[in-house]
């Protein structure tokens, strides 16, 4: 092993003795290799596991809970997010009579965009404990948008949220908006 052989200071000429053979083997390279392999296996075991996100769906019969009847949730206590095509996201706090394509606001999937919107809406909510986010992915949305928005819920700690379909009146405005918007805005970065 890591042994420093002490040189004998013989050399007086006398009898030539047969040298005593040292039986120790230098194990250093083997240990080196061993630790290298350990490191490799340690890293591969921890990194092969993918991350997961919990998702619990509401049970089917209780359909009325996922819809936001205006009697239960006031408009100011809720915000509707529409996930559109090309990674666009729209939000509004209107109902079927007051929603127009002017007050359907477009924003982006990043820190400056949707997160600010949600935080503002939450701060302005009349009753913060009942603040609800209603997520409405359109048929143009992709899976990434859905995961991103769930992520956003986790980041802004909005625990009350629901996923539902677009109402027909929202769909009409959305279609109008997307059709009218002309040149597509820069896609979200996230």
């Amino acid at each position: 092993m890591a042994e420093v052989q002490v040189q004998e200071k013989g050399g007086k000429g006398g009898k030539v003795r047969s040298k005593k053979q040292n039986t120790r083997v230098d194990m250093t390279p083997m240990v080196d290799l061993g630790f290298l392999l350990i490191t490799f296996f340690m890293f591969t075991t921890t990194f092969s596991k993918p991350n997961v996100m919990d998702l619990g769906l509401p049970a089917k019969p209780k359909d009325e809970t996922k819809k936001p009847p205006p009697t239960e949730i006031k408009l100011s206590n809720s915000i509707s997010l529409l996930l559109g095509k090309d990674n666009k996201i729209f939000w509004h706090q209107e109902d079927n009579t007051s929603l127009t394509d002017q007050n359907l606001n477009e924003t982006s999937f990043d820190r400056e965009g949707i997160r600010k919107v949600i935080e503002q809406a939450k701060a302005n909510a009349a009753d913060k404990t009942k603040f609800t986010v209603i997520i409405k992915p359109t048929d143009d949305a992709v899976y990434k948008n859905f995961v991103d928005i769930l992520d956003e819920m986790a980041i802004t700690k909005s625990e009350q949220y629901g996923v539902t379909d677009l109402k027909p009146w929202e769909k009409a405005i959305y279609d109008k908006r997307v059709g009218n918007s002309g040149a597509p805005a820069a896609p979200a970065t996230k």
Binding site: M1, A2, E3, V4, Q5, V6, M27, T28, M30, V31, G34, F35, L37, I38, F41, M42, T44, T45, S48, K49, P50, N51, V52, M53, D54, L55, G56, L57, P58, A59, K60, L83, R111, P137, T138, D139, D140, A141, V142, Y143, K144, N145, F146, V147, D148, L150, D151, A154, I155
Partner: protein
């Protein structure tokens, strides 16, 4: 009194003990490592801030490819796989022989409709790997085979957990139909596989 000369030591440390421990650890890691199996199709999961790791439970996985095909990956347990195949066979009126059952135990993921499953399992193993189903497992309002796979698996063992791995560009309506199907069989808790991303609040 003669002066006691300090004994000269060689600079030796006994590495045997360390070496033993190191190799013990090495053996442990070698035996416990499970290498990731090659994916049937390339799927890039979306990123999220979630730091939860995929648990070790008996896991079935649904893969959703960018073009909206579904693959079902049954649990690893071979004997339970056979039961699952029997159940599915009963439901769809197909009987499988022993060779096909053996092939089903080895299969990585299923991406064919039930009526093609038999011929798929009859293929030699390397052809199975290269086989790309044009449609995947059907999942729409009239033909919910994907949900049947989940339901029959749960019949074999209700403890199974489900993970869904979707691609960044998978269209939402596809995912929605899957979610609706899962709600129909009252299977409401599952995991979405995501990739790691830093917490942007920090």
């Amino acid at each position: 009194m003669a002066r006691v000369k300090p004994k000269r030591h060689g600079v030796v440390t006994d590495m045997t003990a360390m070496c033993d421990v190191a190799f013990l650890l090495l053996t442990f890691f070698i035996l416990t490592t499970q290498f990731k199996k090659p994916d049937v199709e390339q799927i890039k999961p979306p990123s999220s801030i979630s730091e939860k790791l995929l648990p070790d439970a008996s896991l079935m996985t649904i893969n959703a490819t960018p073009d909206g095909k579904f693959y079902f990956q049954p649990v690893e347990n071979a004997s339970e796989r056979v039961k699952l195949l029997d159940n599915m066979g009963q439901k769809y009126g197909i009987t499988f022989d022993n060779n096909e059952k053996a092939a089903f135990q080895r299969v990585q993921a299923i991406g064919v409709p039930m009526n093609q499953l038999k011929s798929y399992l009859d293929l030699p193993e390397d052809e199975q790997k290269n086989f790309r189903s044009p449609k995947g497992i059907p999942m729409d309002s009239t033909n919910k085979q994907l949900v049947d796979w989940v339901e029959q698996s749960l019949k074999v063992n209700p403890e199974y957990k489900l993970a869904i791995k979707g691609d960044v560009t998978t269209e939402y309506p596809k995912v929605k139909s899957l979610f609706e199907g899962l709600r129909d069989i009252d299977f409401l808790k599952f995991w979405l596989i995501t990739s790691q991303e830093g917490n942007p609040n920090e």
